[in-house]
């Protein structure tokens, strides 16, 4: 029996205008990601990986094509509806962590939960549980500046999963980490995926590092998917 994919991208195009010149970041991408799948999108810088991720996450709007995530068609959604979609359906992890520097690890998670409409004791409990889940139970009162790069990225992962989204989108999450730390982070993502059945789409240029963790590898070049290889 065929099941609906968690993420369905059809004929997706995204054009930018840079200095008066038209740049075609994505040129008719078709991609389906099944529920619970861990997909790595690989490619060189400028191949359109991050643009694809931002479109799936509702941060950006396509020039043409269709994006359906968890049964929700993102086309035609207003800015407010896309904000609602982001706070309910997806979690983001970025290369530069993007933690709010003046807030503690717990504060960063509480902020995300505030935007998502969770308050009071439940908010505090969810924040602490998410930090415990990424192994930072002892560091919840620390600010980003007091944490190592690996720990900061774990806080970012905790923030992305604290509201238990169905889809986790990671944009070069290991880009600022050394090899050993990056390896541990990928292990963590794999563990979260296994425990929760979350769908993960991860953008990276480090194909070798990710190959042992993902279910499928999709390679992009110049805004086009050139191959899609499932793990053995």
């Amino acid at each position: 029996m065929l099941t609906e994919p968690e993420i369905a991208v059809r004929n997706l195009c995204r054009d930018y205008e840079v200095g008066g010149a038209q740049v075609h970041a994505l040129r008719g991408i078709d991609l389906e990601v099944q529920s619970g799948e861990f997909v790595a999108v690989v490619g060189v810088s400028g191949s359109g990986k991050s643009t694809l991720l931002h479109l799936i996450g509702g941060l950006d709007t396509p020039t043409a094509g269709e994006v359906v995530v968890s049964g929700r068609d993102l086309n035609g959604l207003s800015s407010k509806q896309r904000a609602l979609f982001r706070r309910q359906a997806v979690g983001f992890v970025f290369q530069s962590f993007y933690l709010v520097p003046h807030l503690t690890a717990e504060g960063n998670l509480r902020l995300a939960l505030t935007f998502q409409g969770t308050f009071g004791e439940r908010r505090n409990r969810l924040a602490v549980e998410a930090l415990e889940r990424v192994g930072l139970a002892e560091r919840i009162r620390h600010r980003p500046g007091q944490l190592s790069a690996g720990e900061q990225q774990r806080v970012a992962v905790a923030r992305a999963i604290v509201h238990q989204p169905r889809v986790l989108l990671a944009d070069e999450p290991t880009g600022n980490l050394d090899h050993a730390t990056a390896f541990r982070l990928l292990e963590l993502l794999r563990q979260i995926q296994a425990e929760s059945g979350m769908t993960i789409v991860m953008v990276t240029h480090d194909e070798e590092l990710v190959s042992g963790f993902c279910d499928r590898r999709v390679r992009l070049r110049d805004g086009v998917i050139i191959d899609s290889i499932s793990a053995a």
């Binding site: 931002h54 996450g57 941060l59 950006d60 800015s79 407010k80 904000a83 609602l84 982001r86 706070r87 309910q88 983001f92 970025f94 993007y98 933690l99 709010v100 003046h102 807030l103 902020l111 995300a112 505030t114 935007f115 998502q116 409409g117 308050f119 923030r159 509201h163």
Partner: protein, 427 residues
């Protein structure tokens, strides 16, 4: 609502991040708001100095009535009774005054000016605010007087309390009417009890000069009370118009009633004018002064508002990427707008409240300095030059908040429109 409150709480953290900048911006609001409050408090203080004695004496309710030009418009006892029967009139009394009266207490004597007031005024609490010791006249027929505090020393009293209950010998001499067209010089002595001591309000020249107050019914029997009327009778050869009182004061139940009563009395053929109407002109000047000073103060507040706008725009630029993060983790444009507007309102509220403290402090120092200067120049009892009614305090804070809110709209809108992709890429 909970979400809104949580966002407001989150926003307060933003204000405390750039403490010095937020403090300086709020200080700008505080200074301009304080200047606005001080200036308006000064205008209100002046107005109050002008109006307070009028209010304390209940003059806003008074209608001054003079004889009419017609044959029947004579201000006599019948007319006074007629006025008292008009709905909305508390009481009416003829204007009795004696320019020279000798009063004595023991071995101390003094000549003074005397005014007659109705006993009924006690029923509506009129004059109460001016009494330093004792009470107003009783409703009986006893011979009673009220002393001005300025007369205490000359009559040998060291305090208002000491004078109350003492007997005062009053000697009056003057022309008295025996029958229409005939007069005689008469002297009369009267022993009256001092029932109270009062302090004349500022700007009330007659009372302020130390006038002795007597009940109108006691005073009407004294010779010399109607010197003006007597002189008019001399001149007019006993015509009907000259036969009555020179002036009657009609006290209405409220200032609003005073205007209705004024019209009713005028319809009877008398010349009537409500005191409230006479001070309208003066009020207009004070309103103009308040508006002018408010406008000057507003300029400062608007400049401070630009300071808030500048601070928030800098904050938007500095936190450009952070706004992108907020949006990536679920904040809507409206959420971001609330965050920045709350920062604006917080600075405005803090500045507005600090402005009140600043204004009170500056006005206190100014009052102190002016009082010392005036005293050295021989001017005593300067009174309170600044007045801070609740509407001014609340209005100033609300105004500061409103200016801040308006100033925050543009930065908040810019923040709300931040494209998360561009922000996260650091462009």
């Amino acid at each position: 609502m909970i979400r809104f409150c949580q966002l407001v709480g989150q926003s307060l953290l933003g204000v405390t991040r750039a403490r010095l900048r937020s403090f300086l911006t709020a200080l700008g609001i505080a200074i301009s708001s304080g200047a606005l409050v001080s200036m308006v408090a000064f205008a209100v203080g002046l107005e109050r100095q002008f109006e307070l004695p009028i209010q304390q004496l209940g003059l806003l309710n008074d209608v001054e009535v003079h004889p009419g030009k017609g044959e029947g418009a004579v201000l006599d006892d019948r007319a006074v009774q007629q006025f008292e029967e008009i709905p909305g009139v508390a009481y009416a009394y003829p204007d009795f005054r004696i320019s020279q009266l000798t009063i004595a207490c023991g071995t101390h004597t003094k000549t003074t000016f005397a005014l007659g007031l109705p006993r009924e005024a006690s029923l509506i609490g009129m004059f109460q605010d001016l009494i330093l010791a004792g009470d107003y006249f009783s409703l009986g027929t006893q011979a009673e007087v009220m002393l001005n505090e300025k007369s205490l020393g000359e009559l040998g009293f060291t305090s208002p309390q000491q004078a109350v209950g003492q007997q005062l010998r009053i000697s009056a001499a003057g022309l008295a009417t025996t029958q229409p067209g005939q007069f005689e010089m008469r002297k009369q002595e009267l022993i009256a009890r001092i029932v109270g001591v009062y302090r004349a309000p500022g700007f009330m020249e007659e009372l302020g000069s130390g006038a002795l107050l007597l009940p109108a019914d006691t005073m009407r029997d004294l010779p010399g009370i109607d010197l003006e009327r007597t002189l008019r009778q001399f001149r007019a050869d006993g015509t009907a118009a000259a036969a009555g009182f020179a002036k009657v004061t009609v006290h209405a139940d409220s200032p609003g009633d005073a205007f209705r009563v004024e019209r009713r009395i005028a319809a009877l053929g008398f010349q009537a004018r409500a005191v409230a109407g006479r001070i309208q002109e003066a009020r207009r000047v004070f309103v103009f002064l308040e508006v002018l000073l408010s406008a000057v103060g507003t300029v400062g507040l608007v400049v401070a508002g630009l300071g808030i706008m500048n601070t928030l725009l800098m904050s938007v630029m500095e936190r450009y990427q952070e706004i992108g993060i907020y949006k990536a983790i679920g904040a809507s444009d409206g959420d971001v707008r609330i965050l920045f507007l709350t920062e604006a309102v917080t600075m405005g509220l803090a500045g507005g409240l600090a402005g009140l403290v600043l204004a009170r402090s500056v006005c206190w120092v100014l009052q102190w300095a002016i009082t010392i200067y005036a005293t050295r120049q021989g001017v005593h009892d300067v009174g309170s030059l600044f007045h801070f009614p609740v509407w001014l305090l609340a209005g100033a804070v609300a105004y500061a908040v409103a200016v801040s809110l308006i100033s925050g709209v543009y930065p908040a809108t810019r923040a709300a429109r931040v494209d998360p992709i561009r922000a996260l890429r650091g462009r």
